[in-house]
């Protein structure tokens, strides 16, 4: 265990990937990727791994710097990026607050103030109950007519999921917001709430150790690594909710630059390194979209968050 392993140097094998379509844009400066949440969070981790994969594959001569600009529930970082119109060396990562903070009127910029690069993956949620819970299936929940679920925040995907299930299962749902996934899991294991919608990588170990039981997955297909767990759709309920991960740039960036960076992201996320270091490790589902398709996906999500927040009475 005494040898120093420096990850970046380890892979000199990936030269075959380094051929790019001939485009007019030639990068001359390093790229900054702004992450609006703090280091160590899901967005930050995905971004840093993508940056290191691009570096490892030597897809472009320039380097990527990941910068955490937190504060104002995302509005600080997002308005910084949106303000730098035309800058071809600035990306930012799409997160939930990308949509929700502007909807609350708390940000000078909204998701329409950016140029889409590419979506890279979606993170599904796994609905779990404590191992000693009487709930064995969705039918048990329907029968009891009520469900107490935890969420990582009131304007967050697990809350949205609970809201959707309330309608689909025709049950009453009480949503308890906690300060993070860890607190939700602790409350679930302690029997203080009944249901959690957890990140696959975090609940997988708990499932295998027999601490929690999985009921269903929130993606449109089965989650890699959770092949026995049915989706809500398979169980007959039209509920799909995943967290979108992707990157955008400021407005008015030259088209060839947008095309150049989009191609780089697409190559990186198609590589075995990305699969091994991100998709497999975090049980994420690849979901690659670019340009107009990505824009349409963002429109759809914005619509959903608007609806949720209206239902919850946060916005009118």
């Amino acid at each position: 265990m005494s040898t120093l392993k420096i990850m970046g140097v380890a892979a000199g094998l990936a030269l075959g990937f380094a051929t790019l379509p001939a485009l007019a844009f030639e990068p001359e400066r390093d790229v900054t990727i702004v992450v609006t949440s703090s280091a160590g969070g899901g967005s930050d981790t995905a971004t840093r791994i993508l940056a290191s994969v691009i570096d490892e594959l030597e897809l472009t001569p320039v380097n990527f710097l990941v910068e955490n600009r937190t504060g104002g529930s995302g509005s600080v970082g997002y308005s910084f990026v949106a303000g730098r119109t035309g800058d071809p060396y600035l990306w930012t990562k799409v997160g939930v607050s990308f949509f929700t903070t502007p909807l609350m009127g708390e940000s000078p910029v909204s998701y329409t103030d950016f140029t889409p690069l590419a979506a890279i993956s979606v993170d599904p949620y796994i609905m779990v109950v404590a191992a000693n819970s009487p709930i064995q299936s969705l039918d048990d929940i329907i029968e009891s007519g009520r469900m107490i679920s935890g969420t990582t925040g009131i304007v967050a995907d697990p809350a949205l999921l609970a809201q959707k299930l309330q309608e689909e299962l025709e049950i009453e749902v009480d949503i308890v917001p906690f300060g993070g996934d860890g607190e939700v899991t602790a409350a679930l294991l302690g029997g203080h709430i009944e249901v959690q919608f957890g990140n696959p990588s975090e609940v997988l170990e708990l499932i295998e150790a027999g601490e929690v039981r999985a009921i269903a997955a929130s993606s449109d297909r089965r989650v890699p690594g959770f092949d026995d767990i049915p989706t809500f759709v398979e169980l007959g309920y039209d509920v799909v909710q995943t967290q979108l991960r992707g990157f955008v740039m400021p407005r008015d960036v030259p088209e060839d630059a947008v095309g150049y960076w989009t191609a780089i992201i697409e190559q990186a996320v198609a590589s075995p390194q990305w699969k091994e270091q991100y998709l497999d490790r975090f049980n994420a589902i690849p979901y690659v979209l670019s340009g107009a398709e990505f824009q349409a996906e963002m429109d759809r999500r914005n619509e959903e968050y608007t609806e949720l927040m209206t239902t919850l009475g946060i916005i009118e």
């Binding site: 970046g8 703090s38 509005s75 903070t101 860890g182 607190e183 899991t185 602790a186 975090f282 927040m309």
Partner: protein, 504 residues
């Protein structure tokens, strides 16, 4: 017994690998520095080191990250004592008696006690983590919103201990703190509260800004008024004065012990945090002391209790991460991200599947703790020389460092404005003799209490009897009543005794 063997081999594995020792040393030094730097705390420190650390082998990387964490707990005390500016949130309580001690020329004694308290607290926390983690993780899970509410009510009742004799001013100060704690996005309903349309306040006010502003800047403003004449009584900063005298150690044994235990027991609870633990430890030490009136004026137990608590809490905080894969705080969430990025899966089976990793890592904690004692003892006389610097120079430098540290949290100029505002508030409250501690208590405990109450009531659908439905909660509430009623009862007896005396 098997655990002890595993731990022994873990310590040996860590100690016999020079690479590992270097990682511990780097982590601990970075932690010390970040802890001592006002503003930046353990979470920021671990996050800063994360991208560097993941380049290494898992045990080395985690040893380094954890080193930053517990190192910061050691370092926080330095500026708290020497300058009266909390280096990070969990060392706020250390200011209250540490700084007066420094002003009385007892900086060495105070710093020495903080080192020893950190070591004792760390050791108690480590024993809890390494030998009783499984038991404590089950206990932590029993604390849901209901139990947390009761614990926070108990903590709030400590205001009667932490405030001054002027009850009214203490409670006004507490109320102000509770209000400040509500600023920002409401976590339960999602709407902004008291942000007045400003995005600066949307995420609430970072506790570091309040602590550094009210204690650090506020005290500096006050000192400026005193003029250059009042120089610190020059004390000797020999190594000898660094060593706590045995009599101090014996005097503080109760504070050290209860501080360590409270720190660990509170630190284990997800979402509770080290800062709350230091407040409870401090109040308990004051309550148990034979001379409670000395607290706040430079009582050495007032340094011992919170410093033991925050170090012990740092290991308590790791319990649920290692036993269940549940990060109980923001810092632990960053550590967990580190584990995941290194390809290790935290969870209930980590101890079985990665036994060597876990025990070697725990081994590094023991070594790191010991290492920190030596490092800090060597560094402290150099740091303590700060008191010889003339005030004009010192304040300018300190303000520079404070601005750097606070700006470093979010790279935000707005944060500096908020900090300055709290500096003014600190100055005004001191001038008007409003105690600062109840305000700080309100800021820390208030949000946890509010969230506990509202989460409980969501699950019970508004039925308040839920708070009496848990034996832990009932026990804590009964303790609260005792704490509140006992002084009244004593006073009653006292006045009756007085009146019988008079009539006799």
């Amino acid at each position: 017994m098997e655990t002890l063997t595993l731990l022994g081999s873990g310590i040996w594995a860590a100690a016999s690998d020079p690479m590992m020792l270097l990682a511990i040393l780097i982590g601990a030094l970075v932690g010390l520095l970040i802890g001592a730097l006002p503003g930046l705390g353990p979470t920021a420190g671990v996050a800063i080191m994360l991208p560097v650390a993941v380049g290494f082998e898992p045990v080395v990387a985690l040893a380094m990250l954890a080193g930053v964490y517990y190192g910061a707990m050691f370092g926080g005390a330095v500026t708290s004592i020497l300058l009266g500016i909390p280096g990070d949130a969990p060392s706020v309580m250390t200011v209250i008696d540490g700084y007066p001690m420094a002003k009385q020329g007892k900086a060495g004694q105070a710093l020495g006690m903080s080192v020893y308290a950190s070591f004792v607290g760390g050791l108690v926390g480590l024993v809890g983590l390494t030998l009783m983690a499984q038991i404590f993780s089950r206990y932590a899970l029993m604390f849901g919103p209901v139990e947390m509410t009761a614990l926070m009510i108990l903590s709030l009742s400590l205001v009667t201990v932490l405030g001054t004799n002027d009850r009214l001013k203490s409670f006004i100060s507490l109320g102000l703190g509770l209000w400040i704690g509500t600023i920002g996005l409401d976590q339960i309903m999602g709407g902004p509260r008291f942000t007045y349309g400003s995005s600066i306040l949307l995420e609430g006010i970072d506790f570091s800004l309040i602590a550094v502003g009210m204690f650090g800047l506020g005290q500096m403003f006050l000192a400026l008024e005193e003029g250059p004449a009042s120089r610190v009584d020059m004390a000797s900063y020999s190594y000898r004065s660094m060593m706590p005298r045995w009599i101090d150690f014996i005097k503080c044994r109760a504070a050290l012990f209860t501080g360590s235990i409270i720190g660990f027991v509170v630190g284990v609870l997800p979402g509770a945090g080290a800062t709350a633990a230091t407040m409870m430890a401090y109040a308990t030490a004051k309550k148990m002391s034979k001379e409670p009136e000395k607290f706040g004026t430079g009582a050495i137990e007032g340094v011992a209790a919170p410093e033991a608590a925050n170090n012990s809490a740092s290991y308590g905080n790791m319990v649920t991460l290692f036993t269940l894969g549940i990060p109980g705080s923001a810092t632990m969430a960053v550590m967990m991200a580190g584990l995941l990025m290194l390809g290790l899966q935290p969870g209930p089976r980590l101890f079985e599947q990665q036994s060597e990793f876990v025990w070697t890592l725990f081994g590094t904690f023991y070594i790191g703790n010991l290492l920190l004692v030596f490092i800090t003892i060597l560094l402290v006389p150099i740091l303590a020389a700060a008191v010889f610097v003339s005030r004009g120079l010192l304040f300018a430098m300190v303000i520079g460092v404070v601005v750097y540290g606070i700006y470093g949290i979010n790279l935000s100029l707005d944060d500096l404005l908020v900090m300055a505002a709290f500096g003014v508030l600190g100055y005004v409250t001191s001038k008007l003799n409003y105690p600062t501690v109840p305000l700080i208590l309100g800021v820390v405990i208030g949000p946890m209490l509010e969230l506990g109450v509202r989460r409980s009531l969501i699950t019970s659908r508004g039925d308040f009897s839920i708070f009496l439905g848990s034996s832990i909660s009932v026990f804590l509430l009964v303790c609260t009543v005792i704490i509140l009623v006992l002084p009244l009862f004593r006073r009653f007896r006292h006045s009756r005794a007085l009146s019988t005396e008079q009539s006799a």
